[in-house]
């Protein structure tokens, strides 16, 4: 079985979260999933450009989706919550409003493209459940993550707003638990499972966001988690790279390793932490993983 997707990496995968690019490609290869990176994709706007120009925000994402449509695939796959939200928002707006779609297409026509609405925007997490199937995933597991206690940190933009995302109930999603359990890991219950990481306002609301980061690390720590796993590189960056800054606001030790979803999957597929670039995190995740797992 080979699944083929157009692939939209998003800006962080080219620098701060390059380990997500590395681990996504490794895991896709191991699972037999073909990812065709869009040639000439742009930043999705990262929840900022619509504050300046809503129509422009829709237009640049219409272009991204149109690039995928020209590849003749049925789905455009991302590994970032916010990229997924921005692309799906643009798509929903145009699919619901013929006049807007026509207007966007006037601009796209000048760029030699057309938005048709034939490609669906999905996230790796959803694709694994919807297209690949948990049973098939389980068959690929060579190193079950037995004994590893993971805290699934969803991030807002993979579930909300539900009229745009809509894959599962935003008040009680289960997709992360289903994947983690298929890999053999144990999911811990913790208060901040559906919390906001605060990344999108880390500049104007630095003080508040650092407090949130500390709470988001402490909650799974107190629940006994070995690491947080997240389907979003922005949540990962906020919780990992800013963790030393957040620590300054707390007396208790908040140390909590934060890994990307494809890294968790890769470990269960028998790929080594180095090949998954787990050594690129600010908070070293490898000792916590080594304590519980026989790593490749």
């Amino acid at each position: 079985m080979t699944l083929t997707y157009a692939f939209f990496p998003g800006c962080t995968l080219e620098s701060a979260a390059e380990e997500l690019m590395i681990s996504t490609k490794k895991v896709a290869e191991a699972l037999g999933i073909e990812l065709i990176e869009l040639n000439g994709w742009t930043c999705c706007g990262a929840s900022h450009i619509q504050d300046i120009d809503n129509f422009l925000s829709t237009s640049i994402n219409a272009r991204n989706i149109a690039l995928a449509e020209s590849l003749g695939v049925s789905k455009l796959l991302t590994v970032c919550n916010t990229c997924t939200l921005m692309l799906r928002t643009a798509k929903l707006k145009m699919d619901k409003n013929e006049r807007l779609k026509e207007q966007v297409n006037v601009g796209l026509d000048r760029a030699g493209l057309q938005y048709k609405g034939t490609v669906e925007v999905t996230h790796l997490l959803w694709a694994l459940l919807e297209d690949y199937g948990l049973e098939n995933l389980k068959k690929k597991v060579t190193v079950p993550l037995k004994g590893l206690k993971v805290a699934n940190f969803y991030g807002c933009h993979i579930v909300m707003p539900p009229d745009v995302m809509g894959f599962e109930n935003h008040r009680n999603p289960q997709s992360m638990e289903m994947v983690a359990e298929a890999l053999g890991a144990e999911c811990v219950e913790f208060d901040q499972r559906l919390a906001c990481c605060g990344f999108h306002a880390v500049f104007p609301a630095q003080k508040e966001v650092m407090t949130m980061t500390g709470i988001n690390c402490l909650s799974p720590k107190e629940a006994g988690a070995d690491c947080i796993v997240t389907p979003c590189p922005l949540c990962q960056m906020q919780l990992d790279a800013y963790q030393p800054d957040a620590q300054k606001r707390f007396d208790q030790d908040i140390t909590m390793p934060i890994i990307h979803l494809p890294q968790l999957i890769g470990l269960a597929l028998g790929i080594s932490p180095e090949e998954l670039a787990i050594n690129r995190h600010v908070v070293d995740a490898i000792p916590a993983l080594q304590r519980k797992l026989q790593l490749a």
Binding site: C11, T12, E14, S15, A16, A17, E18, N39, G40, W41, T42, C43, A46, H48, I49, Q50, D51, I52, D53, N54, F55, L56, S59, I60, R63, L85, Q103, V106, G107, L108, R110, A111, G112, C156, H157, M160, P161, P162, H170, R171, N172, L194, A195, C196, G198, H200, A201, F203, P204, A205, E208, T211, M212, A241, Y242, P244, D245, R280, H281, V282
Partner: protein, 317 residues
Amino acid sequence: MEMMTVKIKRFDGRNSYYQKYEVPYEKGKTILWLLTTIREEQDPTLNFTSACRHAICGSCAVQINGNAFLACNTPLDDVLETYKTMNLTFEPLKNFEVIKDLVIVWEPKMEKMTKVKPWIIPGEEGSKEIGFLQSEEDFQQIAAPTDCILCGVCASECNQLAVNQDGYLEPFILNKAYRYIVDTRDGAPEQHLKPVLENDLWKCLHCMQCVSQCPKTIPLTDQIAFLRSATMAMGELDNQGAKHAYAFHDDVKNKGRLNETMLPIKTDGLVQTALTKIPFALRMVKKGKINPLHMPKQISGIQEVRKLYEYAEEVKS
């Protein structure tokens, strides 16, 4: 008979504790039915507010299993299905002061709302004699924001308010400001907008909680984007929020993608970045997450992307 276990957070003015009730399950009821049944059949001392039972008065919002709901228009079966449980935990709305049990205090919120002047400041186009007329299209602008019933669900779920109650405005207050700013009969939108900007408008985390939970499906986050746009149109560009947004906007126009290395400098300026972000930058460089020497190349098709920018400008004008 199938039973539900309902835990309710009680507060008697001094102490707070959880009280447990066992209630027989009935199909096709509302959350408000559940609360009313407990009060009428088991515990007359339980306090909660409700009145219209039709999602109009906005008085019956509560937290259930971690989320805010309007009790009267929320089917009990939906909640049981959402959490896959027969155990429900009720708490008062978050980010409000509590008077007793599930009853919260609204006065400080209403006082806070006066900051945005929640009334029409008449423009010069109308008068007592000729009235203040609106076209249907103009009226449609205020149709969604006037759906707000001040139930407090958005405020209860707001992640910025949770850590910044004094500085930030409740989403329903932002909605109220928006409602007067876009009202064509209002002659002084900047008088509603300035206090919005001065009360941490750019601290909205874009978490989407308010818009996802609003029982009246008011597009609250689109409104926040509009409010930000409006402050920038008013010339308020010299702040972190606007500079941060423009960093993305300009990077996409110039190269197609974000330059993460330059983002802090574009947002905070060189001096502030040097003062505050050096430890962060060093740890990022050490792990290979930032390469200061790496400059993103222009994407293939950048000329076409710029045509989209030109076209968006045409559409605006």
